[in-house]
C-alpha cells in the first residue's frame, strides 16, 4: 500500500479532512483542559484520554459525513450524549432493531450442512454488529459493506494519529 508522505494529494481527501477536524478537536481539548504534565491527577489524565479518543472517532465520522450508516450512527450517538464507551465500541444497550435483522438465532452447534456456512457467518456477524457503529440495525449485506468502509477509515485514522503523535514526539 502506497504511503505518500510528502507528495501533495487531494486536499479534499478523507485523510486531510480527518486531519483538519481532528487537529481542531485536539486544540479545543487542550484549551478546555489546560494542565501541566506533572500536576494533573490520574483521573484528569484519563478524562483527557477519553476525550481524545472520542474526538478521534467523531472526527473521522465527520470527515466521512452522513453517507455511511456507521458514520451516521457515530454522529447520532455523539449528539445524543450517550455514554462515551458505547460510542466507542458500538455497543447499544437498548437498540430497537437489535436482533431482528439477522434473525434470532441461538448459538447452536450444528452438523456440517449446506446452510452451515451461512449460519456460521451469522454467528460471527453478531460480533461484528457490536463492533461496527450502528451495526445492530443492519442486515448482513449492509453490515459487510459498512464494515469494509469502516476498516478503511479506521486504518486512515490510526495512520494520521500516529503521524501526529510522532510529529510531536520529536
Amino acid at each position: 500500500m502506497k504511503n505518500p508522505q510528502r507528495s501533495p494529494t487531494n486536499p479534499g481527501s478523507l485523510r486531510s479532512r480527518f486531519t483538519q477536524v481532528f487537529l481542531q478537536s485536539l486544540l479545543r481539548i487542550r484549551k478546555h483542559n489546560p494542565t501541566s504534565s506533572s500536576s494533573s491527577s490520574h483521573g484528569e489524565f484519563l478524562k483527557r484520554c477519553r476525550r481524545v479518543k472520542v474526538a478521534a472517532y467523531v472526527s473521522m465520522a465527520r470527515a466521512v459525513g452522513t453517507r455511511r450508516a456507521w458514520s451516521r450512527a457515530t454522529l447520532w450517538r455523539a449528539r445524543n450524549g450517550e455514554r462515551q464507551r458505547n460510542l466507542l465500541y458500538g455497543r447499544c444497550s437498548k437498540s430497537n432493531s437489535r436482533e431482528r435483522s439477522l434473525g434470532k438465532r441461538k448459538r447452536k452447534k450444528k452438523k456440517k450442512k449446506k446452510r452451515d456456512n451461512e449460519e456460521h457467518s451469522f454467528g460471527h456477524a453478531k460480533k461484528l454488529q457490536k463492533l461496527v457503529p450502528g451495526g445492530e440495525a443492519m442486515d448482513f449485506c449492509c453490515l459487510l459493506d459498512e464494515t469494509a468502509h469502516y476498516i478503511k477509515c479506521l486504518i486512515t485514522q490510526v495512520k494520521v494519529m500516529r503521524s501526529i503523535a510522532d510529529f510531536y514526539s520529536l
Binding site: 485536539l26 478521534a56 442486515d139 476498516i151
Partner: protein
C-alpha cells in the same frame, strides 16, 4: 421448517453470490488473509472472524495513540502547528 428463513431480512433470501462478493471485498482489507495463497478457499466465517479481530486491534491502537496524544497535548503549540502539520502529513 422454513420458519427460520422467513425471519431473515425483509428482502428476499440473501444469495450466496452476494455474500461471496462482499466477503471478498472485506478480504482486501485484511492483510493476514490477503497474503494467503489459497485465498479462494477461505470460508466466510473465517473472514468474519479475522475482520472482528482486525477491528478490535484497530480500536486498541486508537486507544494507545489517544493516550500518547493526550500526554503530548501539553506540548502542542497552538499558534503555528496546524498548517505545518497538515502540510507535512498530506
Amino acid at each position: 421448517m422454513s420458519s427460520r428463513r422467513s425471519r431473515q431480512s425483509s428482502s428476499s433470501r440473501i444469495s450466496d453470490d452476494q455474500i461471496t462478493d462482499l466477503v471478498s471485498k472485506l478480504r482486501q482489507h485484511l492483510p493476514e488473509i490477503r497474503d494467503r495463497r489459497r485465498s479462494d478457499k477461505v470460508p466466510a466465517s473465517k473472514v468474519l472472524q479475522e475482520t472482528c479481530n482486525h477491528i478490535k486491534n484497530l480500536h486498541q491502537e486508537v486507544d494507545n495513540l489517544s493516550e500518547r496524544l493526550s500526554q503530548l497535548l501539553s506540548t502542542i503549540d497552538p499558534d503555528s502547528p496546524e498548517a505545518a502539520i497538515i502540510r507535512s502529513l498530506i
